[in-house]
Symmetry: C2
């Protein structure tokens, strides 16, 4: 399983991904799912991956080494894409290429062509953008109305984002909320686990502000988990007693 | 879609269920999913239902009108079951009977035999118990280690329960947490909606303390939703700024 999230606020882009992969509960490994492509001052792009690892690694390889453009015959690489939109299209083509090559064999082995990608970043001259790319290579983009996108095990960590993330949220608040969202997911799904990769790309900076791996010994993340638990407890304790209980239940 | 939850704490049993059913987003109705069977002073039993409504209503009818015992030929009704375990077995048999009658026809219409039930309550002389009954009629029971069970759209509302519900939680706190869990679910899944039915059965009371429907005009539930949002915001605001951001991002 996997949980990745991208949050695109006015100040910039936050991306977060866990690293746990599993083929059954008895076969758990650590693989990086947050891939950074950067040439500082010119472009910073990130791909977060969810789904079948053999497929997503294959896609990363294709966009790194280049795909032939069917019209021009030219080899197109992610690092040469003229815009974020063109780059998202290239990734979409890589998804379809992998499906063309492997889809039938997977289907005959009853393995579904299951993957989703987040793609975010900025190329000089263009906006900071965040896309979600589906298994057919089609994609959507985050907007000011919906400034975050999630892939993988998204439900446990969604309520806190739904309530707290807006386009005007600051980058450090967005990073904090991404970590809380990841924590909620890790507590409820053993298939999502440490270490966590985080990255922060301030708008128009064209270099990463944060590119960090949080492991089990990270004191801030430990503290955040504890504080969040305490704060949640305080939050529900502060809500008045339901009035539907007319009298106290008898002592146990 | 549906969300129902049962919480069995030392002081008693809390059950909550939404009422929204949908056959597509364009066909939404209100149906009671929390069914109460009671003879005060002798037994109070509740069934909450998730899944295909034609199947779950059918099961409720069978356990109300009675199923023939294959060994004795006697007609067995929920209201006559000698124990909560026997009652859970009876419901399991009703599930399998409905599957026997309708399973093949549903399968040929490509409709899966999809349902889950919560069954909780107390019969005089026995303990207060809470079961989850699956679509094959088999079931599990809540324990002191895991005092709550959920059916339907369970993920959005699980993190708050995971962190806050324990066997020693009071009944009114458990009811409050069930309402917060329902609120989180309703915000993220349009298929779960008001009104909400709630019931509280204090241990050994053998009559319901609460049997109430919360609708859109309910002032306490409105207040709870507002307070929870405010408290969540305060909770994440109280967590220190992540130290990974070495310097402030440039002003937008």
């Amino acid at each position: 399983m996997t949980y990745c999230c991208g949050i695109l606020v006015r100040e910039g882009l936050v991306m977060i991904a866990d690293t746990r992969t599993n083929a059954g509960l008895d076969n758990i490994s650590t693989f990086r799912k947050l891939h950074v492509f950067r040439r500082d001052g010119e472009r910073v792009m990130m791909i977060a991956t969810a789904g079948n690892l053999s497929l997503t690694q294959n896609i990363i390889n294709h966009v790194t080494e280049g795909l032939e453009n069917p019209d021009t015959g030219a080899l197109e690489r992610l690092m040469d894409a003229p815009s974020m939109f063109a780059a998202a299209e290239l990734i979409g083509r890589a998804v379809r290429k992998v499906r063309d090559v492997q889809g039938d064999a997977l289907e005959s082995a009853r393995i579904s062509f299951d993957l989703t990608l987040l793609f975010g970043g900025q190329i000089a001259g263009g906006r900071t953008r965040l896309f979600m790319i589906y298994s057919a290579g089609n994609f959507i983009e985050a907007t000011q109305d919906t400034p975050y996108l999630q892939i993988g095990e998204h439900k446990y960590g969604k309520p806190v984002l739904d309530r707290a993330v807006a386009y005007d949220t600051s980058v450090d608040e967005a990073l904090k909320l991404a970590l809380v969202s990841m924590d909620s997911t890790m507590r409820s799904n053993l298939g999502v686990g440490l270490p966590i990769d985080i990255a922060v790309l301030p708008r128009d900076q064209l270099s990463l502000e944060v590119d960090h791996r949080i492991d089990n010994a990270d004191p801030y993340f430990h503290d955040l988990r504890d504080r969040w638990s305490v704060a949640l407890r305080a939050a529900h304790m502060s809500i008045p007693r339901p009035p539907y209980l007319k009298k106290l239940p008898p002592p146990a």
